[in-house]
């Protein structure tokens, strides 16, 4: 049974309420995420920016069920997930959440295709269906000719594109990307940038944590984070072209 079908598509895909995460205790207490209220609508691309140590990666892990919050709630498609068991969270990640990491985290001994099909296999799909889906996705990200290559034979940008394809494997509700271009040079960043743009246009809900301005600029909405809280929020779409003239140096 596809868990996606049982989850409603109206309303925000992700929602948090009073989300908090603390580490350490006493003198060494660190509040990585401090009373965060967040809503991500379906099909929206949200970018979260901030200096290192501001808690944005922790926020992402909390949203994906990789960490448990100290306080507060996390709702995914109307279902509360912060109190689920590890087993239920795993099932959730199988069907509803896709991850993209800064360090790619591909399996070194598997080819690109084998890496991409892994979530589908974990979800119990037949090997043939999983392989077919992997081929489709690799074509979408433009790496069909590198299907049978090992990660060691791929450039950084190519590896991250494989990771993005893997995140899409089970048609997730939301893709969570943690500094997707953190380990990439500018050319590779451009490749990933284009890919994220095209993902946006398919209506995929994306939450990207980044310190790269160009990646953040692909979002519909941008939130700046500092010391665990949100400090500024802007809508980035629908900019007037007059703006462009001004930016390019034309004077009125």
């Amino acid at each position: 049974m596809n868990a996606n079908e049982s989850l409603p598509r109206v309303g925000p895909v992700l929602r948090t309420s009073g989300l908090e995460k603390e580490y350490g205790h006493g003198e060494g207490l660190v509040r990585a995420v401090d009373a965060v209220e967040l809503e991500v609508a379906s099909g929206e691309t949200l970018a979260v920016m901030g200096p290192s140590g501001c808690g944005k990666s922790t926020l992402l892990h909390l949203l994906g069920g990789l960490e448990r919050p100290t306080a507060g709630e996390v709702w995914l498609a109307g279902r509360r997930i912060d109190e689920l068991s590890e087993k239920a969270l795993a099932r959730l990640r199988r069907h509803a959440i896709g991850f993209v990491f800064q360090a790619f985290h591909l399996m070194d001994e598997l080819t690109a295709a084998e890496n991409v099909e892994l979530p589908a296999l974990l979800a119990g799909r037949s090997p043939r269906a999983a392989r077919r889906r992997a081929a489709e996705l690799l074509e979408e990200v433009g790496l069909t000719d590198r299907k049978e290559h090992l990660p060691s034979a791929l450039s950084g940008g190519q590896r991250q594109r494989v990771a993005i394809a893997r995140a899409l494997s089970n048609d997730p509700l939301v893709v969570l990307a943690d500094e997707p271009t953190g380990n990439l040079d500018s050319a590779a960043t451009l490749d990933v940038l284009r890919l994220l743009e095209s993902l946006r246009s398919t209506g995929q809900t994306l939450l990207i944590v980044t310190h790269d301005a160009r990646i953040a600029a692909t979002a519909d909405r941008l939130i700046s984070m500092r010391d665990g809280t949100f400090v500024e929020e802007t809508r980035l779409t629908h900019g007037p072209t007059g703006r462009l003239a001004e930016l390019a140096g034309l004077e009125r």
């Binding site: 700046s224 500024e232 802007t234 900019g239 462009l244 930016l247």
Partner: protein, 193 residues
């Protein structure tokens, strides 16, 4: 007396102008009334080596203009062994002008000096948290970047207009990097105070 001599000897034949010098001076006056020379000293401190490129009499001329425009008032203060000095004070109109300027996120081409001074003035006068100003400006630039980037990506490969747009994007990126540095500096300063 010496002041007047200095003024006449250093007639501005060359020297750079500061477009927002009016707004900066107004902001500096927001905290308390000051003498002209005090304002000039603060400006020189904030600009460092760049201050030398500025026209020497620029400040005084601007102050006169501001008074004429009704944004500041001046008062002569008598001194025992020196010629009288003017003390300038902000009016209500002047204060309104400062507030508008702080909230304005338009971004002129060579950016650093003006925005830099905005932050300095805001911090000195306690008018606004410089970090929040930086955040607001960053977001404004990112919105611009988003527009420019989308336009750039929409251009076919090898398009000449694409080159221009890429230039816009890259400059904005550079500005944004500086803004992050500003945020780090002012955040640290806040922590220290």
């Amino acid at each position: 007396m010496q002041e007047a001599v200095r003024l006449s000897m250093e007639e501005p034949a060359q020297g750079y102008q500061l477009r927002v010098v009016r707004e900066v001076l107004l902001a500096l006056l927001a905290k308390e009334a000051s003498h002209g020379y005090q304002l000039r000293a603060r400006l020189q401190l904030a600009l460092g080596p760049l201050a030398e490129a500025l026209n020497a009499g620029h400040v005084y001329v601007t102050l006169t203009r501001l008074e004429k425009a009704g944004l500041v008032t001046s008062e002569r203060v008598g001194q025992a062994d020196r010629p009288d000095r003017k003390v300038y004070e902000l009016t209500a109109a002047g204060r309104a002008r400062v507030t508008d300027w702080l909230e304005d996120t338009s971004w002129p081409k060579p950016a650093p000096a003006e925005f830099h001074l905005k932050l300095v003035a805001a911090a000195a006068a306690g008018l606004a948290d410089p970090v929040r100003l930086v955040d607001a400006q960053r977001h404004a630039l990112l919105a611009g970047l988003a527009v420019a980037q989308r336009a750039a990506l929409a251009e076919p490969d090898g398009s000449i207009a694409g080159l221009l747009l890429e230039g816009v994007v890259l400059r904005l990126q550079a500005d944004l990097r500086w803004l992050e540095a500003c945020a780090r500096y002012w955040n640290a300063t806040k922590g220290r105070s």
